[in-house]
C-alpha cells in the first residue's frame, strides 16, 4: 500500500468535483488536489468517435453505462438502470443534455407546504447568487423575460428560438392558459447545433472531463492531479470527528494507495456516495460514516417521467425537430398549487419528434417518391413531463452483490411508490392530454415510463440536525470535521426540473465556504 498526501481529495470527477476544485484553484492556484474516478478516460472531441456516433449511432462511452446483471432492483416498483448514468472520467456530465433550470422557492419548503419529504436548510434566496454564477460558468442560453423565478442577473446568452415544429403546441398552450417558455440550455463552448449533443465534436456542452482537462493544461495548477480507473473502496477515520484518508486501487497498475488529505469531498453521485459511506465502517463509525441515525442511502427521489404522444395524419410542412434538444417548455404546472395537490410537473416537448429518419429510408432502398410520401404522410408530437418527488424513508440504495466492472460495489435499489401515486400521475396525464387534443392530434400514448435514476437525489440529504439528514447546510457530514458530500445526494428533495444547475450552484457555494477558512 503506497501513501500519498494532498490538501484535498475528491471522489468523483463530474460537475460537482470539477466545479468545487475550480473554485478552490481560483483562490489558491497551488492547492494540492487529487481527483479520483473509478471509470476510464474516454477521449473527448475525437473525430473518429464522432463520425461513428453519427453513422452507426454508437457513443464511444456506451460501455460505461450500467449493464444488465450488474445491479439489483428489489422494491415493489421496477427500477431501470438503463442509460441512467455514465461511470467514466467526467461522470454523467458526459451524456447530460445541458438543461439548466433553477429550482423554485417552494422546492426548498416541501415539508412545510405538503407535510411530505423535507425542507431544505437553505432557501432559494441563499442560492440565488450562486445560480447566477453557475449560469455564467455553464454559459446558459436563456430568456431573461421568462419570469419563472426571481433573478438578479441576466442569462449570459440569448435563448434558442422555438422551432417551427413547436408552433402547434405553443398555440395549444396558449389556448389552455399554459405559458410557453424557451428551455434554458447550457452551451459551454461554441455550439454549432450538430444534433449530436451526446458526443459533441466541439466540447460545446459542459462536461467535468473537459473542465478538468482545461485546468490540468492551464499551467498554473501545479498540484492538481486526476487519476481515472481508480475506484475508492474505503474512507478511513482516525477519530470520530477526524477523517484521515481514502483508499483506492489504481486499476491500470494494480497498485493500492492510501491518500491522506486535510479535506475529503465525496462527489460520486446519488448511487455511489451513500454506498461508500455505508461501507466505510470503523470503531468510530460502526454503521458507516455519517450513518449513526441509519439515514445514509434512504429517501431516494427521482423524477417520474410522464408522456402523452399524439399523431396527425399529414405533415405537408415536412416538419421535424431539427435540434437534439427541446426548445419549448412550460413551468405553469410547476407550481405551489400542484405541489400541494400531490406533485407538480415541468412540461417540455420531446426533443426527437416530429421526426423521419430520412437516411434510414434511403438505406432501406425507398425511392425519392416513396420517401416524400412518408415524410408528408403524418407526424407525431409528444408532450413530456418530469414530476417532483419527495422521498420516502423505506426507499434505499445500498451495496449489492460483489463488484462491478469498475471495481465498485454493485447497486441494490429498494424502491416502492405509495398506492396514491398513480392517482396523481393520472391527473397530471389528463392535463397533458388536453394539450395534445387542443393541437388537433389523436392521442396515441399516455403513460409513465419505467422509473429510473437519471435525476436521482436525496440519498445523503442535507438537514439542520443529524437525526434528519446526513450533511449539514455546508455539506459537511454530521459528526465530522473534514468530510463533505457534494452531489445530488444532498438535495433534501428533488424538484420537477433537472438538478445539474442547482448542483453547480451548490458546488460553487461549497468552494466559497472552503476558501473562506470557516471550514
Amino acid at each position: 500500500m503506497k501513501i500519498r498526501e494532498f490538501d484535498y481529495v475528491f471522489v468523483g470527477s463530474g460537475v460537482a468535483a470539477s466545479t468545487v476544485a475550480k473554485t478552490i484553484l481560483e483562490s489558491n492556484r497551488l492547492a494540492s488536489i487529487l481527483i479520483l474516478d473509478a471509470g476510464p478516460k474516454v477521449p473527448a472531441q475525437d473525430r473518429r468517435a464522432w463520425w461513428d456516433y453519427l453513422v452507426r449511432d454508437r457513443r464511444p462511452y456506451d460501455y460505461c453505462y450500467d449493464q444488465k446483471g450488474e445491479n439489483q432492483s428489489v422494491g415493489q416498483t421496477e427500477w431501470s438502470f438503463d442509460d441512467g448514468r455514465v461511470s467514466m472520467y467526467g461522470g454523467s456530465t458526459v451524456h447530460w443534455g445541458g438543461w439548466c433550470l433553477r429550482f423554485k422557492p417552494e422546492d426548498f419548503e416541501v415539508f412545510s407546504r405538503t407535510k411530505e419529504g423535507a425542507d431544505w436548510p437553505i432557501s432559494y434566496n441563499t442560492l440565488e447568487p450562486y445560480y447566477g454564477r453557475a449560469e455564467e460558468y455553464l454559459s446558459v442560453c436563456g430568456d431573461d423575460s421568462e419570469g419563472w423565478t426571481a433573478r438578479t442577473t441576466p442569462y449570459p446568452r440569448p435563448p434558442f428560438p422555438w422551432t417551427a415544429a413547436d408552433g402547434e403546441m405553443i398555440a395549444a398552450f396558449k389556448e389552455l392558459g399554459i405559458k410557453p417558455g424557451k428551455l434554458p440550455i447550457a452551451r459551454y463552448r461554441k455550439c454549432m447545433t450538430t444534433g449530436t449533443c451526446k458526443y459533441c465534436p466541439f466540447g460545446a456542452r459542459f462536461s467535468g472531463q473537459i473542465a478538468l482537462e482545461e485546468l490540468l493544461t492551464d499551467g498554473r495548477h501545479l498540484n492538481l492531479e486526476v487519476v481515472h480507473n481508480a475506484p475508492v473502496s474505503q474512507i478511513n477515520a482516525e477519530s470520530k470527528k477526524r477523517i484521515e484518508s481514502v483508499e483506492y486501487l489504481d486499476a491500470l497498475t494494480g497498485e493500492r494507495y492510501t491518500v491522506r488529505a486535510n479535506t475529503i469531498i465525496v462527489c460520486a453521485g446519488s448511487y455511489e456516495t451513500p454506498k461508500l459511506l455505508q461501507t466505510s465502517k470503523s470503531v468510530y463509525w460502526e454503521n458507516g460514516i455519517g450513518n449513526d441515525f441509519d439515514l445514509v442511502g434512504r429517501f431516494i427521489s427521482s423524477h417520474p417521467f410522464l408522456i402523452v404522444r399524439g399523431s396527425l395524419a399529414h405533415n405537408t410542412e415536412e416538419w421535424f425537430q431539427e435540434y437534439d434538444f427541446p426548445t419549448l417548455m412550460s413551468r405553469t404546472y410547476d407550481s405551489p398549487e400542484l405541489q400541494e395537490d400531490g406533485g407538480k410537473i415541468f412540461l417540455f416537448k420531446d426533443r426527437t419528434q416530429p421526426n423521419v429518419d430520412i437516411a434510414s429510408l434511403m438505406i432501406q432502398g425507398k425511392t425519392r417518391a416513396q420517401i416524400d410520401a412518408i415524410v408528408e404522410g403524418g407526424r407525431t408530437q409528444e408532450l413530456q413531463a418530469f414530476m417532483d418527488d419527495r422521498g420516502h424513508h423505506d426507499n434505499r440504495v445500498s451495496a449489492g452483490r460483489g463488484l462491478n466492472r469498475f471495481g465498485l460495489p454493485q447497486t441494490q435499489i429498494d424502491f416502492s411508490r405509495p398506492p396514491e401515486f398513480q392517482q396523481v400521475v393520472n391527473r397530471r396525464l389528463d392535463l397533458m392530454e388536453k394539450v395534445i387534443l387542443a393541437m388537433g392530434y389523436k392521442v396515441e400514448k399516455k403513460t409513465i415510463r419505467t422509473q429510473s435514476g437519471h435525476h436521482m437525489t436525496s440519498t445523503c440529504r442535507m438537514a439542520k440536525t443529524p437525526d434528519q439528514g446526513v450533511v449539514d447546510e455546508n455539506l459537511r457530514v454530521f459528526g465530522t470535521d473534514n468530510l463533505y458530500v457534494c452531489s445530488n445526494a444532498v438535495f433534501p428533495t428533488g424538484s420537477a426540473v433537472n438538478p445539474t444547475l442547482t448542483l453547480t450552484a451548490m458546488s460553487m457555494r461549497l468552494g466559497d465556504y472552503l476558501n473562506s477558512g470557516a471550514a
Partner: protein, 167 residues
C-alpha cells in the same frame, strides 16, 4: 443480391474485414467518390454537385481509414465490388441495384458476402454522411443531425423557427 457475380457473391464472415496495415489507392478513392456522388443523383437530394461536400467526405474517409479499427479493408472490398458490377451492368444500373433494389432492411442482417459488406459497412454509412452534410435540405430542413452550420451566436435561427406562427 448479385448472386451471379463472382467477386460480389463470395462468402465472408460478417466481421469487419482486416485493413489496419493497408492503404487505399487513388483509384479506389475515386471509385468510392463516384459512389458517393451517385447517392445525390439517385435520390435527387442535392442542389449542386456533391463536390461542395467533398472535403467532408474526405475527412470522413480519412477518419475511418487512419484510426483503428480501420475500414480500409472494407473500402477496398467495396471498390472491387463496384468495379465488377459497373463492368458488367454499366454505372447507372449498378447504382440502381446497389442503392435501391437490394432488398436489405435497416438495421441490416449480418453481412455474409462481399457485396453485403459493401452495403452495410460502406454504402449505408455514406448515405448517412451525405444526408447529414447536405441531402436533408431537399426535405425543407435547415438543420439535421450531423449538420454543422451557423455560428455560436443565436441571432439567426439555425432551424426553421416558430416565430411568426405564434404571434
Amino acid at each position: 443480391m448479385f448472386e451471379t457475380d463472382v467477386y460480389c457473391s463470395t462468402s465472408l464472415s460478417a466481421d469487419l474485414l482486416p485493413g489496419d496495415i493497408q492503404e487505399l489507392t487513388a483509384r479506389e478513392i475515386d471509385i468510392l467518390w463516384r459512389l458517393f456522388q451517385a447517392i445525390g443523383r439517385v435520390w435527387q437530394d442535392i442542389g449542386q454537385d456533391s463536390v461542395n461536400i467533398k472535403s467532408d467526405w474526405l475527412e470522413f474517409v480519412h477518419a475511418k481509414t487512419r484510426v483503428a479499427p480501420s475500414y480500409t479493408g472494407e473500402y477496398s472490398n467495396a471498390a472491387s465490388c463496384l468495379t465488377e458490377l459497373i463492368n458488367k451492368y454499366g454505372e447507372d444500373a449498378a447504382y440502381q441495384q446497389l442503392l435501391l433494389e437490394h432488398g436489405m432492411p435497416d438495421p441490416p442482417p449480418p453481412p455474409l458476402t462481399r457485396v453485403a459488406h459493401a452495403k452495410v459497412y460502406v454504402i449505408n454509412e455514406f448515405i448517412r454522411v451525405q444526408v447529414a452534410k447536405a441531402g436533408f435540405k431537399s426535405w425543407k430542413g435547415s438543420n439535421y443531425k450531423g449538420f454543422i452550420g451557423g455560428s455560436r451566436y443565436n441571432r439567426k435561427p439555425r432551424a426553421r423557427s416558430a416565430e411568426g406562427q405564434t404571434a
